[in-house]
Amino acid sequence: MPSVLFDAKDVTKIEPITTSCGMVFAGLMADFRVLVRRSRKRSQTYKLTYGENQPISQLVKETAQVVQEYTQSGGVRPFGVSVLAAGYDEEGPHLYQIDPSGVYIAWKATAIGKGDQNAKSDLERRATAGISFDDMTLDDAIHHALQTLRTGMEGEMTKTNIQVGVVDGTTKAFRILSEEEVQDFLEEAR
């Protein structure tokens, strides 16, 4: 938080896009809002046309297309955000990263933002140490994520200054964990 005067109640970095997909960003919050709005609208248009939820792979592709157009059009500047999109579709869970260039990459585990290099090395170390990101449980995944997040964080990690969003395999729904749930995970991680 930039200052002690900051009112942190309504700050949210993770945004649900559809019932089974959510996005988080690193970079300019205002640019992220534009992408969130476009993705939400596009996925609802898809739902109107086909009666079904848009698969996250298609949503990410189309959002990335929007980002790319801003790198090749006159009078606009590229989006100043990197986006991580998580979702569940017919083929299972997916995690995608969208870069300001319009490139989208599918990941098993990744990090973006300040300290992303350290965080990614941390995740790679866990992977080479034998932890399989392909078939871990949701609880384990949250543990690993919080531990990796802590390595890059200045100051203490509390339930109010982090947010955790998950896509559950059983419900296939995207949700942001409540502060109580985050607190439980933080205590377990200690």
Partner: protein
């Protein structure tokens, strides 16, 4: 928007409105509809469909004609719109072929863009949406049955009409045949029909039409779609 291809049909069949030199209006009902007092063009073709155990059977008559004339008796009115979905159309041949091909090409575009096929439910909603959008612009006079049995999905049959009605059904029919055949399907269809049983039910329906329907429909094209693809049944 999902449908990227736009047909040129609108330019073709709009006429100038009577009080304005260049603004156009959608065509009014045709002479044959006006006679019936409806906005639907009645043609003499028919289609019958039913859902079975892991497959959908669609049958459409093979006559192509207008008024008292038959042009040909081997017209295939059942279009494959993807590897595991078929669509049988009823209506004026022009609308059926324009709309049918429009749907076919858009389904193919989806496949190419997304490396995955649409589910039958998704295809049904897309097709219905196109019919509904065109209704107030210049309707496609197409009534259709959509049958699909994609992988990992139950075999499903959808009944659609030119107004944009959409309903998932176990069996259905379009055209004059529906007046004769729906009661038979009601009596003889049951859940989990095998292909042989479905063809038997179809034979009963066609025999009924031969006995009671004024227009002779000697040849039918019959197709079955299941998770392995589309098969033509040698019926005649």
């Amino acid at each position: 928007a999902a449908a990227k291809l736009s047909p040129c049909r609108r330019r073709r069949n709009l006429r100038a409105s009577p009080d304005h030199p260049y603004r156009s209006v959608a065509p009014g009902p045709r002479a044959d509809c006006a006679a019936f007092g409806s906005s639907q063009a009645f043609t003499m073709d028919s289609t019958i469909g039913m859902r079975g155990d892991g497959f959908v059977l669609l049958a459409a008559d093979a006559n192509a004609g207008r008024s008292i004339l038959i042009y040909k008796q081997d017209l295939d009115k059942i279009l494959p719109i993807s590897e595991n979905q078929i669509m049988a159309t009823v209506g004026p041949q022009a609308d059926c072929s324009v709309f049918g091909e429009y749907i076919q090409k858009n389904m193919r575009l989806y496949e190419l863009e997304n490396q995955i096929n649409l589910s039958t439910f998704g295809a049904a909603n897309f097709i219905r949406g196109e019919l509904a959008k065109a209704l107030r612009r210049g309707p496609y006079q197409v009534n259709l049955l959509l049958g699909g049995a994609a992988k990992d999905e139950e075999a499903s049959l959808f009944w659609m009409d030119y107004l944009g009605t959409l309903q998932k059904v176990n069996y259905g029919a379009h055209g004059y045949a529906s007046n004769f055949v729906l009661s038979l399907l009601d009596a003889h269809w049951e859940k989990g029909l095998t292909e042989e049983q479905a063809i038997e039910v179809l034979r009963k329906c066609i025999k009924e039409l031969e006995t009671r329907f004024m227009i002779a429909l000697p040849k039918w094209s019959v197709k079955v779609v299941d998770s392995e693809g589309v098969r033509v049944i040698d019926f005649n």
